[in-house]
Each structure stands twice: as C-alpha cells, then as structure tokens.
C-alpha cells in the first residue's frame, strides 16, 4: 500500500473535501433549477403552467387571481417556466431552504378583467343569446 502514501498525506494535511454545510455553502450554478417564483404582476392566470405540470403542484384561480404552488410536490423540472406565455415564471438559481413544516408558495395578483363588460341594459344579454344560437356550436 506504499503507493497510497502520498494520497494519505494529502488527505491528512490538505484541505477538506467536504464543507461544514449549514455554515458554508457553495453557490449554485447559473442554470440550476431552484425554487419557483412568479412575477405575479405580469401573470395573466392562463393556467398553462398548471396544465403542463407533471406533478400537478400548481393551482391557479382565475376568478380571484391566486397562484399557489406546493414546493413539496414540485419536481423542479421547469416545464411550467417553458410553457409560460408571458415569461413571468422563473426558477431561482438557489437551493431550497430547509423547512420544518409544510408551507405553500401563495401569491395574490390582480385577476384579469372580463373581455365583455356587463351592461345594465337588459336587452343586450338577450341579443347575445340570439346571436349565439344562430352561430354553429364550436367544439
């Protein structure tokens, strides 16, 4: 085993191969897929991220404008980020923090305005209904 002597001496005298983890941490690489983050002001609540997610950890409510992600179910694949049409989803290149309990990433935004404004005129809805009835139903 004499050929291992240099290795043994290097291990004894040299630097540690490991880190004192909670005290010293290595910075994550740029491309690392860390915690999911939504720029909620930009979000249009289209639910594309929720539909593409393989673990179904994202739930979006268009009516009240909430975006909720369960980080304990998230598999960090980044498919939601690729699917987002307005590029409001990002993954931080940082390690996820240690948690002592189950917590959700909840964000409240402004829900999108309905396309057609409701009018007080009672005749307008009736006209719409007639127009819809004339059009062939789209699948």
């Amino acid at each position: 085993m004499a050929f291992m002597t240099t290795n043994v001496l290097k291990n004894l005298v040299g630097r540690y191969s490991t880190r004192l983890y909670p005290i010293t941490t290595r910075a994550a690489f740029d491309a690392y897929r860390g915690e999911l983050y939504n720029e909620i002001e930009k979000c249009i609540f289209c639910q594309n991220c929720a539909r593409k997610c393989p673990s179904q950890c994202i739930s979006v409510d268009k009516e009240i404008g909430t975006w909720v992600c369960d980080p304990f179910a998230c598999v960090y694949c980044g498919l939601c980020v690729e699917a987002c049409p307005v590029n409001c989803l990002h993954m931080k290149s940082a390690w996820r923090h240690v948690a002592t309990g189950r917590e959700m990433i909840e964000m409240q935004g402004t829900p999108p305005k309905p396309k057609k404004k409701k009018t007080e005129d009672a005749a307008a809805p009736a006209e719409d209904a007639e127009a819809k009835a004339k059009k062939p139903a789209k699948k």
Partner: protein
C-alpha cells in the same frame, strides 16, 4: 447439520435498497436464498392513464434516480419511433453525452458502495469524491444534479455551449486522473482480491440461460451490450463491450471499472464530433401504435414496451429493468457461499429494487 433461516433485509446496513432475502444456512454456508419483493412499489406504470405522454417523461425518470436520463431517453426514442419523428443530429450526440455522464456517475457510486460492502470505507469516500465532479457537470449543464430531465419527445431541452464542452473535457481529465489512481486499490490489492475473487461465481452458461444483463452478463464472458444496437449516436462512435471471463465479484467490478473509463472516452468522442444545429424538432399529434425499445443502462439492458391509442394518454407503458433480469442469476450465485460474503455478492449485481418494482 441444523438448518437455520436468516432474514436478510429489507433494511440492512450494507444494502442501499430494500430487498428481503430469506437465507437458508447450514453452519454459516448458504444453501438456498428466497427473495421477497414489493416494499417500494409505486404504481408508476398505472399513471399513464392520468398523465399525458409528455408528462410521462418526468415520471419514467423517477423509476430510478441513478439512471434517470437513460430511462427518459428510452421512452422518448420509443415515442419518436412510434410517431415517425427524426430528431436532429445534435440532439442525438447530446443524448449520448448526458447518458454516458450518467453511466460514469452510476458506476462510481456503485464502486464506492461495493468497497463499503466489503469494509473498505476509505475507498468508498474516494470514489464518491470523484463522483461529485460529474454531479457538478450535470448541475451546470442540465440544471439538476441527479434527475436532469433534459429529454423531450423530439430532441433535448438543453444545449451545450462550446465553453461548457471544453469545461466538461477539463473536468473529465481530472476525473480520469483521480480515478486511475484508485485502479491499484480496486483491482490489484490483496485484501480486495481476497474478498472478491472466486466469490459468487456465475458461469457463462448460467449467465446466458438465466438471462443476466449488463455487467453481470459481461463479467461472465458474454459480449452483449445494447449500445451495439446503434441507437442515438452510438453508430458513429467507436467502442467495444468490456468483457471479463471470471464470472465472480471481481470480474463484475472490473467490468464496471473499465466501463467507466470507456464512458469517459465516449463523452470525449461525442464532444469532438458534436455537430451544429437545432436540438429539438416540434412535435404534432399523438402517438398511435405499439413499439418496443431497448437501451443499455449502467446496470444492463432496459426494455420499454409502449402502446399508444391516438389520444394524448398512452394505453400501456411496460418497463423491464436490468435488476429484474439479474435477480435469478443472483439466486444462482448465493448457494454455497459463506454468510459474510452475502452482502458482497448481492451488491455485485448492483441491485436497484425501486427500479424493479416501479
């Protein structure tokens, strides 16, 4: 001679995987081994009914953490063959690069665990320290350390820049230099040979007739490697299957040791020949028909049977993993050995029980 039945596992200090073996021993010599599986069944194949075929890529990656990339590659190749998609040349080479990186880190992990099984903890730490460089490459290039999820149907999601390619080559040089230093310890040392040579012998005929796969088969002298089927870009890379004829634990560890060097060489070749161009093509429509696909995992042959019915949900996904093929050979190896050698022999097939049960 009194017969005793010793339960081995499912949670045992030397076993990284939950396999339960009932060992019938007569005076410290094993006479029979009965396996019991089913501790970590997750029903991943059943998920095909509620996840569409693109989301299934993320699910098949989780069949096995250590060969996640190769599972996804096999699944994507199957879907592409079913839908008649020709993927770009660059994507083929990128798939080879990441799958060979996966093979390197899987073999390094196994070599460490194997050293730990016969009580050589220092070598275990040396191998795992080297492995960390490969994990860093995965993290920097694909975005995650173990489950990299770079495959999509139609190509790859990530790309390698020229700077990243040169960085990978320099890191691989360091890995190779450090890895070769351990060659004398792992392959020539007296104490290691004492624990591995002639232990758990599987003859060539036994290996062939019991359907062994991967290094277990090649360690018994059969030159069979699924990469010879020329999938992805393996048709334009030069390699020969590593074959040893001993059939014992030492031969199997030597096959894995030499395959690691072979994989480093394959990554170098793939980076040298990496063509320019797109990494993925757009896919339209849903898979219809049935297809089977075989690729080489670090542990051996991986088999996928896929059946699509024209909707976005697959009708059937059947996965046969190499450990499943290697359990009958393991049961043939165990009778006749001493009880103290059981962990070494069980680990020599590189068991992955979560793979087997899915």
């Amino acid at each position: 001679m009194p017969r005793t039945i010793i339960p081995f596992g499912p949670q045992h200090p030397v076993l990284p995987e939950p396999i339960h073996l009932k060992l019938v021993v007569e005076d410290e010599i094993v006479t029979e081994a009965l396996p019991q599986l089913g501790y970590v069944h997750r029903g991943l194949e059943k998920l095909t009914e509620i996840r569409d075929y693109n989301q299934m890529i993320q699910i098949v990656e989780r069949v096995c953490g250590i060969c996640s990339k190769i599972h996804a590659m096999c699944y994507c190749q199957g879907i592409e063959q079913m839908m008649g998609i020709e993927i770009p040349e660059r994507a083929k080479y990128l798939r080879v690069i990441w799958s060979e990186l996966h093979r390197i880190h899987s073999h390094l992990l196994w070599l460490g665990l194997f050293a730990d099984a016969f009580g050589f903890e220092s070598v275990f730490m040396q191998f795992w320290r080297i492995r960390e460089k490969i994990m860093d490459i995965n993290e920097a290039t694909a975005g995650n350390r173990v489950i990299v999820s770079v495959n999509v149907v139609g190509g790859t999601r990530a790309d390698l820049t020229p700077e990243q390619c040169s960085w990978i080559l320099t890191e691989l040089d360091k890995v190779e230099a450090e890895f070769k230093k351990l060659q004398k310890v792992m392959l020539d040392d007296y104490t290691v040979k004492k624990r591995t040579v002639g232990i758990g012998v599987l003859t060539r005929e036994q290996a062939y007739s019991l359907g062994a796969a991967g290094p277990t088969l090649r360690g018994s002298g059969v030159a069979q490697d699924m990469r010879q089927l020329k999938y992805a870009a393996f048709d334009s890379l030069d390699f020969e299957p590593v074959v040893e004829t001993g059939g014992d634990c030492y031969s199997r560890s030597k096959v894995r040791f030499l395959e690691t060097l072979q994989s480093i060489d394959l990554v170098r070749q793939a980076i040298a020949r990496l063509p320019m161009g797109e990494t993925a093509v757009k896919v339209k429509g849903n898979p219809e028909g049935e297809v089977d696909m075989r690729v080489e995992q670090p542990r051996g042959e991986l088999f996928y049977y896929l059946k699509g019915n024209g909707t976005k949900f697959m009708e059937r996904v059947r996965i046969r993993t190499p450990t499943f093929a290697n359990i009958p050979p393991l049961l043939a190896m165990l009778p006749g050995i001493e009880l103290a050698d059981v962990p070494v022999v069980v680990l020599s097939i590189d068991p992955c029980i979560s793979c087997t049960e899915r």
